[in-house]
């Protein structure tokens, strides 16, 4: 019997959980070595806690979620936050710059039934998180490697360096130097540098890398003709509430 793994959903689109089902070739091998304790996207079976590992998807947007993540933390050996929602607050963190009550009044017929928080926040704002896999969605390779690393007691291969390292690995000429503004130099690797390989600039879906000099990159974008409002939007997407990007977007607001 392998370790128990529970997969939890918070406010999210389910895309990161589905990355596990997308593993296809590796999925049966993984399932043979772990016990799935909770994973509604795949099975109705449940194993009660405590759990060895909890994969947590989604951000905290309701009082119920804020309470639930604390309970999960108490009953889990390791908590791994997966995806931009769980590690940065996700696209729904755009509410953090707006009035949630006003949004609710437009969207819902009876907003008084809603019980929601003013903000969408990552789990690290509520509990101690052991490992974060960034990305919208996360990388399948990094997820599988992380599970294998946990099973074999080694360190996961999760680089914190720039997307640029992956462009260089695949020998893609730098799109920013060729004239297309790119967030790659401030964004964490992991996606495999997909967008630049199609001559598109990186839009930061993997969130900030370590030691992020967004000020310098934004200045270069300005020099390349990118307007202030476009700069604000570039830094305020899926990972907009992650401090490095949050602070940069505020400089252009």
């Amino acid at each position: 019997m392998g370790p128990t793994i529970a997969i939890w959903k918070f406010s999210s689109c389910d895309g990161c959980q589905l990355t596990l089902l997308d593993c296809e070739d590796e999925l049966l091998g993984i399932l043979g070595r772990v016990q799935i304790a909770y994973f509604p996207e795949a099975t109705r079976a449940e194993i009660e806690g405590p759990w060895d590992v909890s994969l947590v998807e989604g951000s905290v947007t309701t009082p119920e979620e804020a309470k639930r993540i604390k309970e999960i933390r108490e009953k889990s050996g390791l908590v791994v936050a997966i995806g931009a929602c769980a590690t940065a607050g996700g696209i729904q963190a755009l509410r953090n710059w707006a009035n949630v009550k006003e949004f609710a009044s437009i969207v819902y017929a009876h907003p008084e039934y809603l019980e929601t928080l003013e903000t969408s926040t990552p789990h690290s704002d509520h509990i101690d998180v052991d490992l974060e896999l960034q990305g919208c969605p996360i990388s399948k390779t990094q997820l599988v490697d992380t599970l294998l690393a946990l099973l074999s007691g080694r360190r996961p291969n999760v680089p914190t360096s720039a997307v640029c390292t992956e462009c260089k690995q695949r020998q893609t000429p730098c799109v920013q130097v060729l004239g297309t503004p790119c967030l790659g130099p401030v964004t964490q690797a992991g996606c495999g540098a997909i967008c630049p390989s199609y001559a598109r600039g990186c839009y930061g879906c993997f969130g900030p890398k370590e030691t992020t000099n967004t000020v310098s990159l934004a200045k270069r974008w300005s020099d390349m003709g990118v307007a202030e409002d476009a700069l604000l939007r570039a830094f305020r997407t899926f990972n907009g509430y992650k401090p490095a990007f949050r602070e940069e977007s505020a400089r252009h607001g």
């Binding site: 993984i30 291969n157 020998q171 310098s216």
Partner: protein
């Protein structure tokens, strides 16, 4: 041995090498840049293209002639062929309570590097010194290097960021090649070809050619003389080692840290930077694992991470480490220079940091005379 070749003879070179079942890797246009890739015909060379380079900027433009090598160096270097971006080093299998380790056999197909610039010839020599010139030779590099055949091309069109004249590595290759070409556009479009090795001479003998006259030699000399003059001296390397070592706390490092992204582009584009990391990974059954070597950079935090954390946390310390290694301590460590003046770190820096400017700034306001 030397001869004059017509532009059409380049096709004969490719044909002859491919007939021998060699890979021919050469400059070619892809993704709006001149990259290195395998070619099947000389028609795939960037015929009639030039590159316009500036700090953090690269653009291709059409020339008004049919020059085959009318451009400087692009985003990639021959490092991709010799110190490959990713190489599996080792596989380990668990067997009945024990384990078996198998090193990957270092094998490489015979490959002709067609269009190696003098600065790149110099860079290959430097990497030879670092990777196979000491007590421990890198097996994979050695296999690839042994199977390489270098056709150098002297430079007539340095880009704005080129400074090989300052580093004394170009624009004319003195040695380190099997065959060297100089493209002459003045008068009839032709190439002066000179063999550097017996193998180079053997190839040259197979090509349609004319004898080289004195006029051809002086025309070829003029090509590189003009290029050298165009570049001028933009980095004074005579005292740079002592200058940098005497100014370790220079305020310019704070200034450059305001601009540097620690994105690693300079080091990965550099033809001499050789730093790598190894990743260990295992399969699902837990019975097999493998070790892969990948390019790494002193600009990442993980690069210097050890027990207790990273040693170079600030951008200041990372840029300083790179600059001083490249231009100063490299000489002490390997008894060669670390920089060949190809200008890639300047062109391919997403924010256009110019190593020459940084050195000049330190020189202009140095704390202490070296």
């Amino acid at each position: 041995m030397r001869a004059v070749l017509a532009p059409e003879a380049l096709e004969a070179i490719v044909e002859e090498l491919r007939r021998r079942d060699w890979r021919v890797v050469a400059p070619t246009v892809r993704d709006k840049a001149i990259v290195y890739d395998e070619i099947a015909s000389a028609a795939e060379l960037p015929v009639g293209w030039k590159d316009v380079q500036a700090p953090g900027s690269y653009k291709l433009e059409l020339r008004d002639d049919e020059a085959r090598f009318g451009y400087a160096v692009g985003p990639q270097s021959w490092k991709r062929e010799l110190l490959a971006p990713s190489v599996r080093l080792l596989q380990i299998e668990r067997t009945h309570g024990s384990f078996k380790a198998a090193e990957d056999a270092a094998e490489a197909k015979r490959t002709a590097f067609f269009g190696v610039r003098p600065c790149e010839v110099a860079a290959i020599k430097i990497q030879d010194r670092v990777l196979i010139g000491g007590s421990f030779a890198d097996g994979d590099y050695l296999a690839r290097r042994k199977n390489s055949f270098v056709i150098a091309v002297n430079c007539g069109e340095p880009a704005a960021n080129c400074f090989c004249a300052s580093m004394n590595t170009g624009p004319k290759a003195e040695d380190g090649y099997d065959l060297v070409l100089t493209e002459i556009l003045d008068g009839a479009h032709r190439f002066l070809a000179e063999a550097g090795t017996g193998e180079g001479a053997e190839l040259l003998a197979k090509l349609p050619q004319q004898p080289a006259a004195d006029a051809d030699l002086s025309a070829a000399q003029k090509v590189t003389d003009t290029a050298r003059e165009k570049m001028g001296i933009t980095l004074d390397r005579s005292d740079v080692r002592d200058l940098l070592l005497a100014n370790l706390e220079h305020p310019r490092y704070d200034d450059v840290a305001g601009r540097c992204l620690a994105c690693t582009n300079c080091t990965l584009a550099c033809p001499t930077c050789f730093c790598t990391t190894v990743d260990d990974a295992n399969d699902l059954s837990g019975a097999g694992s493998e070790r892969t070597r990948k390019w790494d950079s002193c600009f990442t935090a993980q690069y210097s991470e050890m027990h207790g954390g990273g040693t170079r946390r600030s951008l200041q310390s990372r840029y300083r480490q790179w600059l001083i290694h490249k231009l100063a301590t490299w000489n002490d460590q390997f008894d060669t220079q670390g920089c060949v003046g190809c200008g890639r770190c300047i062109t391919w820096c997403p924010v256009g940091i110019d190593i020459r400017e940084e050195v000049s700034a330190i020189r202009a306001t140095q704390e202490a005379k070296p």
